[in-house]
């Protein structure tokens, strides 16, 4: 009983301190950038805006059209990738799984590369990326369902690997066909991930997809734990494993595709952040999800602040997530004694 209260306190403690950390990172991030704006200026502009003022002038534009949307996008994408990572790792009962396992990122990359090859507009490229991610996972799911096999998750993962490498090969084909002076660098930059061109409209556009896919995850958080016991046990406890898995795969895919469509491919977050969260609060999905989402948001807001301030040009975010994520992860791994399962 005492133990239970303590762990609940600890859990809320983590959520509270992570929320504070996120707030701190946002405040720090809002105050630095290539265009110097003091915190007092930021507050006064924010205050005027809240009072219903129009966006006018350089400072307003930088704050409301560039910096804030960018911070919002990195927070959302970080939270989303972490949530999707938690769901996938739970679904497949495998700590090495990341949201890319069913090919959503590769498919999105393929869609975006095709859009760049066809010289489409930025919005169309994003739509292509979103659609590419969804179509790839749908294909994987369809293929896996055609194969009747006892090991449903194994077949799903295998189908993901096969379709994913097919999409990867097609992506390589597009790279060969692309104009090496123009389109090829654009594809490469897209695949490295970046928040440099995120607009407020992008953030608004992904929010519905994120909310819609978060709802089933939150509602099904307890059954998710049952699923991690294995299909046989789950069935014995009255859970329909394949239906549940289907719903969660759709939810995780939808949110990942939305995130990737505005930020490009950002690896590492979906793989590592769920582990960090698990080291803090244990494997219970209901506790894991909010903590992982907050950690993911903190991580990406911090990393993106570095990406845009480290040098005068943009540092591709995929590079920084690995460089900063790996040491932090190893540190946590060495410090913690909590179990994985």
């Amino acid at each position: 009983m005492v133990d239970n209260t303590l762990s609940r306190l600890a859990r809320w403690g983590w959520i509270a301190s992570l929320s504070l950390a996120l707030l701190g990172l946002i405040v720090v991030g809002a105050g630095i950038g290539a265009y110097p704006i003091s915190h007092i200026d930021i507050l006064s502009h924010l205050w005027l805006r809240l009072l219903g003022g129009e966006v006018s002038g350089q400072v307003d534009r930088i704050l409301f059209e560039i910096r804030f949307p960018r911070i919002a996008a990195s927070a959302i994408v970080g939270a989303v990738l972490a949530a999707a990572g938690c769901a996938y790792q739970g679904l497949f009962r495998n700590p090495l799984v990341s949201p890319d396992i069913l090919g959503v990122s590769t498919g999105a990359g393929l869609g975006a590369a095709l859009g760049i090859l066809l010289s489409l507009s930025i919005v169309a490229i994003q739509v292509m990326a979103f659609a590419g991610g969804l179509v790839t996972v749908a294909l994987v799911y369809a293929v896996a369902n055609m194969v009747r096999h006892r090991e449903a998750t194994l077949v799903l993962v295998l189908a993901g690997v096969v379709i994913g490498s097919l999409a990867g090969a097609t992506l390589s084909l597009i790279k060969v066909l692309a104009d090496p002076y123009d389109q090829l660098p654009a594809i490469t930059f897209w695949l490295l991930g970046s928040f440099a061109s995120v607009r407020i409209a992008d953030v608004v556009a992904v929010i519905p997809a994120v909310v819609i896919s978060l709802i089933p995850m939150i509602l099904l958080r307890w059954r998710m734990n049952v699923l991690s016991l294995g299909d046989e046990e789950a069935r014995a406890l009255g859970v329909h494993p394949s239906r549940l898995r289907g719903i969660l795969v759709i939810a995780a895919t939808l949110m990942t595709a939305a995130a990737v469509s505005i930020a490009g491919v950002i690896g590492w977050v979906g793989l590592i952040v769920p582990h960090m969260a698990r080291l803090l609060v244990g494997p219970n999905f209901a506790r894991l999800l909010p903590v992982a989402m907050l950690m993911g948001a903190c991580f990406l807001v911090g990393i993106d602040t570095l990406a845009r301030t480290l040098t005068t040009t943009e540092t591709p975010i995929g590079i920084l997530t690995a460089f900063f994520g790996a040491p932090v992860f190893l540190f946590l791994l060495a410090r913690s004694r909590r179990g994985w399962q």
């Binding site: 265009y35 930088i62 507009s121 490229i125 060969v176 660098p185 061109s197 005068t312 040009t313 943009e314």
Partner: protein, 346 residues
């Protein structure tokens, strides 16, 4: 079997002795033995194909890629449809080495970087195919030298001299004006690449050297050391707003069509003063894409944009002359107007 092998070796020796009777030193300092008379040149990439086409189009074995419909009116009709032979760039090659050998070129020519990667690629390809491989420095400032060097190698020294003379005269004309304008009074320029316009080349990179050559200051300036490591970088919108360029150049239609409507770009000086310029890319890019001699007309165009008070000339006439001299084509009036309208639209 032995007999056949001996015959082959004999033929090879014969071939070597019969044709390989002069040596030249290329830009990388490699000594290459080449036939006395060169008739066929395999261009290893787009820059080399343009250089060869300008000097001796009849020697070109093929283009690295097929030409788009909008590029066709700007090339001489007899050479537009040369076979597509791919490009030789090591691991990223689209060319088939066996095909290259089948084409039986007298030399393989690469025009561009002479860094050690390309030197070793040249050496390896030459050893593999037995075809002499020449490497010529493709830096913009090396243009006159490159034209003369290749003109001599291909046996068309007068042609090389004539084209080099054009480049020399243009460079000299610009240098004379720039001598009177101190660095800090030169306009700042941003080269916007990619559909969102946030991709650019840093100062000192081959992609943007035309900006400095024309007397502009590239806002993506991080010293020479940086340029060695990274040619193309992503800029943040904030950085662009903070540097507030006087002039923006682009060849991206998507970006150009959008930039005047986009509130984010609205406060940048170049946009406010309507100094965002679209560089034509037919048959080849005016400022890059690929970085080859095709940039000379872009340089001419840029001088008028950067220093209108110092360079007054009829752009249409200049373009007509350049295309006639370098591209062997009398561009039809309508096509010429199209080109001019691209390069002057606001």
């Amino acid at each position: 079997m032995l007999h056949r092998t001996l015959t082959c070796v004999g033929l090879l020796c014969l071939a070597t002795f019969a044709f390989a009777d002069r040596t030249v030193t290329d830009s990388a300092g490699r000594t290459v033995t080449i036939p006395d008379r060169i008739e066929q040149v395999y261009a290893a990439g787009p820059p080399a194909s343009i250089l060869t086409y300008m000097l001796a189009p009849e020697m070109l074995t093929g283009w690295p890629r097929a030409h788009h419909a909008y590029e066709r009116p700007f090339l001489a009709p007899e050479y537009v449809d040369l076979p597509v032979t791919g490009r030789l760039t090591g691991r990223g090659s689209t060319a088939n080495l066996e095909l290259v050998i089948t084409l039986q070129p007298d030399v393989i020519l690469d025009f561009g970087s002479i860094r050690s990667t390309y030197v070793s690629l040249a050496d390896e390809t030459q050893a593999q195919t037995g075809i002499p491989y020449l490497l010529i420095d493709g830096r913009f400032n090396n243009t006159p030298t490159a034209l003369r060097l290749l003109g001599n190698i291909l046996g068309v020294p007068e042609r090389g001299e004539r084209l080099a003379g054009y480049a020399d005269a243009l460079f000299a004309e610009i240098d004379a004006v720039l001598a009177t304008i101190p660095e800090e009074r030169r306009p700042s320029v941003y080269l916007a690449r990619g559909p969102d316009g946030l991709e650019t080349g840093v100062k000192g990179s081959i992609n943007t050297e035309i900006i400095e050559r024309a007397g502009g200051r590239n806002i993506a300036d991080y010293g020479e050391k940086m340029a060695i490591q990274r040619n193309l970088v992503n800029m943040s919108m904030e950085e662009i707003i903070a540097s507030d360029p006087d002039i923006i150049l682009t060849w991206d239609r998507q970006f150009f069509d959008r930039v005047y409507q986009d509130p984010l770009w609205a406060d940048i000086r170049a946009v406010k003063q309507q100094r965002v310029y679209f560089a034509p890319s037919a048959p080849f890019g005016w400022i890059d894409r690929p970085p080859s001699i095709n940039r000379l007309i872009g340089l001419k165009w840029l001088t008028g944009l950067l220093y209108p008070e110092h360079f007054q000339f009829d752009l249409k006439q200049a373009v007509r002359e350049y295309y006639r001299l370098f591209y062997h084509v009398d561009v039809a009036e309508a096509d010429l107007n199209q080109l001019i309208s691209w390069s002057t639209t606001r």
